[in-house]
């Protein structure tokens, strides 16, 4: 029963984090548009759960790296986890799965993958995903986000987003308190 309650409570947190991410990018879109430095309509970006629609769209990806069907099982086993499907209009552009540790002080990004081929959000999946995870981490009161096994080619981008390696070699970012 407590597990069920936790799942429902975190369902609200997950949903809220996705909503806040959408609001953040709507705000940024207006700012960047005003400065004429926007090339994508961020208002078409949607932050959703990894659900049946996401899985259907994922099946169309050519040669994906991870088997995201597993996530459906993981979600059931990890009631506090955060799953994210990043869409541009009706196109699935990225998938992310993160999980807080037992104390909830650290949220670990377990998997992050963008559409392997051309898509409208190419080059920005990490930024969208990490923003949504940051909202989730703030909602649940975490102090840190960790990226598990980051791809070396994306490290400069992770650094740009505030991540650094700690003394134990983990790529982490502290959550700013507002």
């Amino acid at each position: 029963m407590p597990r069920k309650r936790t799942y429902l409570r975190y369902q609200v947190y997950r949903s809220e984090a996705r909503k806040r991410a959408a609001v953040t990018f709507a705000k940024l879109h207006s700012e960047l548009e005003a400065r004429a430095i926007v090339d994508v309509d961020y208002s078409k970006v949607r932050f959703e759960a990894i659900d049946a629609s996401a899985m259907k769209a994922y099946e169309q990806w050519l040669d994906p790296h991870f088997c995201w069907e597993e996530i459906v099982r993981w979600k059931a086993k990890e009631p506090m986890s955060f799953d994210l499907a990043i869409w541009f209009d009706r196109e699935l552009c990225g998938l992310c799965f993160a999980n807080p540790n037992q104390s909830r002080l650290r949220v670990k990004i377990v998997r992050l993958e963008g559409h392997p081929n051309e898509h409208p959000l190419k080059g920005r999946i990490a930024t969208f995903a990490l923003t949504a995870v940051t909202h989730f981490a703030r909602i649940i009161g975490s102090q840190q986000i960790e990226i598990q096994e980051p791809l070396s080619g994306a490290l400069p981008l992770y650094r740009q987003l505030g991540f650094e390696f700690d003394s134990e070699g983990r790529l982490v970012k502290r959550i700013d308190q507002v």
């Binding site: 990890e78 080059g123 930024t127 940051t134 909202h135 703030r138 598990q148 980051p150 700013d176 507002v178």
Partner: protein
């Protein structure tokens, strides 16, 4: 006595509400980072996998 208890209960409730409602906004530092990453990404993001492993939950 009843009034004191009610007041305490209402204070507890409001403290609890405050604790459960963190600020919606990200910090300005955070927004600045995101803005920069969107406008001038430090590196061309590789296609496909960006992080993770074949780790599995038992």
């Amino acid at each position: 006595m009843k009034a004191v208890v009610e007041k305490k209960a209402s204070n507890f409730k409001s403290r609890k509400m405050e604790k459960k409602q963190p600020s919606v906004e990200l910090s300005e530092t955070e927004m600045h980072r995101i803005r920069n990453a969107l406008a001038n990404p430090a590196v061309e993001e590789p296609s496909g996998v960006l992080a993770g492993s074949y780790f599995s939950f038992r």
